[in-house]
Subunit: 230 residues, 4 copies
Amino acid sequence: MASRRTRRKSGALAKAERRQQILTAARDVFAKRGYHQATIDDIVAAAGVARGTFYLYFEDKRAVFEDLIDRFSAQLTVAISRIVIDDPSRAVADQARDNIHAIIRVCLAERTMTKMLFTDAAGVDPGFDRKLATFYDGVVQLLTESLRDGQTLGIVADGEPRVLAYLTVGALKELLFQVVTLGLAEESAEVLTQQLFRFLSEGYLRVGANEMGKRGAARRAKRAPAGGSR
Amino acid sequence: MASRRTRRKSGALAKAERRQQILTAARDVFAKRGYHQATIDDIVAAAGVARGTFYLYFEDKRAVFEDLIDRFSAQLTVAISRIVIDDPSRAVADQARDNIHAIIRVCLAERTMTKMLFTDAAGVDPGFDRKLATFYDGVVQLLTESLRDGQTLGIVADGEPRVLAYLTVGALKELLFQVVTLGLAEESAEVLTQQLFRFLSEGYLRVGANEMGKRGAARRAKRAPAGGSR
Amino acid sequence: MASRRTRRKSGALAKAERRQQILTAARDVFAKRGYHQATIDDIVAAAGVARGTFYLYFEDKRAVFEDLIDRFSAQLTVAISRIVIDDPSRAVADQARDNIHAIIRVCLAERTMTKMLFTDAAGVDPGFDRKLATFYDGVVQLLTESLRDGQTLGIVADGEPRVLAYLTVGALKELLFQVVTLGLAEESAEVLTQQLFRFLSEGYLRVGANEMGKRGAARRAKRAPAGGSR
Amino acid sequence: MASRRTRRKSGALAKAERRQQILTAARDVFAKRGYHQATIDDIVAAAGVARGTFYLYFEDKRAVFEDLIDRFSAQLTVAISRIVIDDPSRAVADQARDNIHAIIRVCLAERTMTKMLFTDAAGVDPGFDRKLATFYDGVVQLLTESLRDGQTLGIVADGEPRVLAYLTVGALKELLFQVVTLGLAEESAEVLTQQLFRFLSEGYLRVGANEMGKRGAARRAKRAPAGGSR
DNA sequence: AATGAATGAGTCTTCATTCAT
DNA sequence: AATGAATGAAGACTCATTCAT
């Protein structure tokens, strides 16, 4: 006979497994119908458990969603390493690139969660919104500090670092969202990283001094002093 | 005595005014509570009209929301001019900058709507999501074509134009969202335009050949040809 | 200039005409959608008047309906003459037949009202139901008394006169309802009268003594005096 | 301990029982207030269950009503046997009488449903009206065919059989309705059957040739040639 | 631990009726 | 007298959550 700890009704799973089963079902339902359209009924039907069982493992609908988002944001958090500016073994640029790469890899590995994070996470309820904002702020804060460090080192251009952080995060979010939502799906993490990195490094506009008008001429001139635009 | 056209019950407004009154109230309620938390009761209370009056002007909650978003997206659409590549009087770069500037101006003028567009519009219901996606796709498509034109002209760097469009739109969206949500509010449209434009023009990473490691070295060399080999 | 009494806004009708206009519209709406499905909006739209105007002429929805039914039941009441048993100039049978004929004529002339009376009048509300029952009871009562008189005269068979009245009224109602609802419509009042009258006179079952089995044999025998006197 | 199948929460009933409980409550409420006056609240209050419970078992108010009517009309349908004209063991007349008797018995056993069928079933909504008409048509059709057979056999008088069917059904309906509604309640199914049967067999008007006037004289004469007016 | 019937608060929506112009 | 915008009471319905077994 099985030990007391592991003995269980046929069909019953260990607590953790059952929880995971519901979590996975919930993720799929949320992805398919959206958080607000999804009902507890949809979730338990997908998980193949009774309605009451759901409440044995989660406080309420929000709690499952929160759990999913928490796990995913934890994965993202883990993927990001704080940039060390004086590590002789790893150039700052490589660290930055690795961070971007890691984030993209996580998102491509969890396409469903990525989509949910971007489409459903906002507007769940005031409390959750605050929590989500905190997470975003953390990411932005980290990036802002790194950018400030980078400016000290002279490897990040002048400009309000927080604004640069928003631009960066925004570009990355939209890229990931589209890749994950549409069929841009084939893109590898490497290619996407390369595209974003290049974008952050040099932008894409190549408007010469004469074309830019007075507003942009001065700046451009500094970078290409050899007389020619481009 | 008022003319026949304008004579009306005290407290009664012309149809268009009453509609606008409800629309404004709804906008504020949505902004404050979020689309899903908002109830018809909240809206009519804010508008100071009876429940039934709401249904005289709108089909349901979704319809008011849709109207608001439609108006706002129409404003944005109007603000954007298709870029003409061979207009001798207006440089392409200026046209691009003007577009960015116009979008930012509209969003700063309608902070509430901007926030709603970014936080509440997704996940309302499948039909609305589709509609919204269509709008975004239109914007992205326009930008993509402009970028492709720019590549032909040699004023936009190589790269998948659609990806560049996503990066641009993402950066802009996030910037606007944060400006509108947080107190970054003081920023003028001009300053924001300048920051985004500069970002699109040159990025911000300035990692030299030696620092970039093998992965990035070759590319960087292209931009500093003064004596450097590729 | 028209006198004060008759002067009226262009398009305005005399009170009675306007009332009739609404009444007719209401009748058609009730006939088409049924009392409960019909809304005041339907009625005013059909009448081509404003919503408020309706309430200038009728207390509420029930009141128009009641008015319609009242007028119709009055027509029916008028059509029925109390049978006089000792009128030398008109045989009782002729009087009965004339009554039937008159009722059928009224119903055929007002098919819409006839249908409404049978399908919508019951279940409007408790008060109206009572009123309707009173009308029916009046008709049944009159008929019952006539039948009782007839029994005294020997021209109506034995049997509980009230039951005979119900049977008669039921047969007539169903006949009229079907004629009016379906396309049995071509039937003339004369033919229908004839059919009902014959039914009341001799029924239609012609089961002989031997076929009727023991239960019916005795009774049948009475009518086929071949051997038995009454 | 109860078996797995029957074990249930205290107060909870087996699904079928709970459904029946609501059905019964609904029947009583409909009978008392009428279909249109009845609210879901009335029904759940009568059933002693929560609002939501109602919706666990029925789609909406119409659905309960439909179920009730369906069950009752099924009872009636079952009660009626198609008449077989060449069964040597059962005379046609007996079969007819048995059908009438069976219908009356069912209606007397379910007085509430009988009343509802006649007062509330019409005018519920267009779809239901159609369904009800179909049921009535089925009954009338069956009867019509039987009458046609009877005419072939010579045991049903001449005349449009469909009209005779309407007359019969109408008479029966009204009789049942009054018996069930008023206190005519004591009547036994046997007596009522007998009354209706006699009515169908010989009518009740006994107007002699001389009294009937020219219109009816000829016909009457054929049936009672032995000089008697009755 | 699992079940699923039962619950009822929370919303939406309709529509008869009012009333200032 | 006529209008029609406004009203809000009345009811329907959903669905997250509970709880006895």
